[in-house]
Amino acid sequence: MKRTQKLAFSAVLISIMMVLGWLESFLPVSPIPGIKLGLANSVLIIALYWLGIPASFQIMIIKNVLLGLMMGNPMMIPYSLCGGFLSLTMMSLLYRRKGISPIGVGITGGVFHNIGQVALAMIILQTPSLIFYLGLLLPAGAAMGFITGTVAKTLFKHFPPFQHIIKQSNIHMEE
């Protein structure tokens, strides 16, 4: 994949995530204050299979910082970054392994997105009892991950993430 193609893909994925993040702010109930389901972050799974690990991390960071500024709530940027980093790290470790479909990767990403945010809240608020809210957040994250994983899997039937494309794009990133 050429650098230009990659840039265009990244831009499209970032804008999709921005719109999803904006839509998510209209959801009336968020289980934990300031901690969202990670609708936008789970688009990352598509970025991961198509563009590889380094590009996905770039997309994740840009999206979280831009969305935080756009929503006028910069205080929340560290939380979404923490969730994004943990989620993407876990997905990166799993996505090329055999026996795991994009659905399993999506579930892992959704769950760790919530774990990352709650963990940071536990540290900043010095309130260890927050861990119990994961009891409700984990199934929510898993459900979201299942949906995005299924969407990604369906998409990959028509636009398969060729391994050589991923390899090439990694070389580009290292230049």
């Binding site: 204050p33 861990i131 994250g141």
Partner: protein, 130 residues
Amino acid sequence: MKRRDFIILAIVLVASLVLFLLRPKAIVDGTETAYLHISVPGQTDQWIPLTEEREIRIEQDNGDYNVVEIFPGGFRMVESNCPNQDCIKQGDVTVDNIGDRVLGNEIICLPHKLVLSLETEAGTAQENDP
């Protein structure tokens, strides 16, 4: 879905079930006095007995403020200058409804790093009215 997908899903469901079963439950013993614990790490740490009806204003050095309404056996957040207003949407916390609330015995204002919690005994920090 493949085999390892199901393993991942099973781990997640078992973990959340364990956490859900271990969560704090309602305070059944009505003889104890309930306290409101106000906590902002590094700034505020106080316990207020929930015996009368009144409003408490919590101000921070950087201009952040919250107003809590307390009443016998419970409290609610009524005002905050935070951007998302999630703390107000979290509703009442009373000795009876802890087991039913998503946030249990707590109201959290994440942007202000403020945690309000309902407790049955006062902690070690000195009790004083703001």
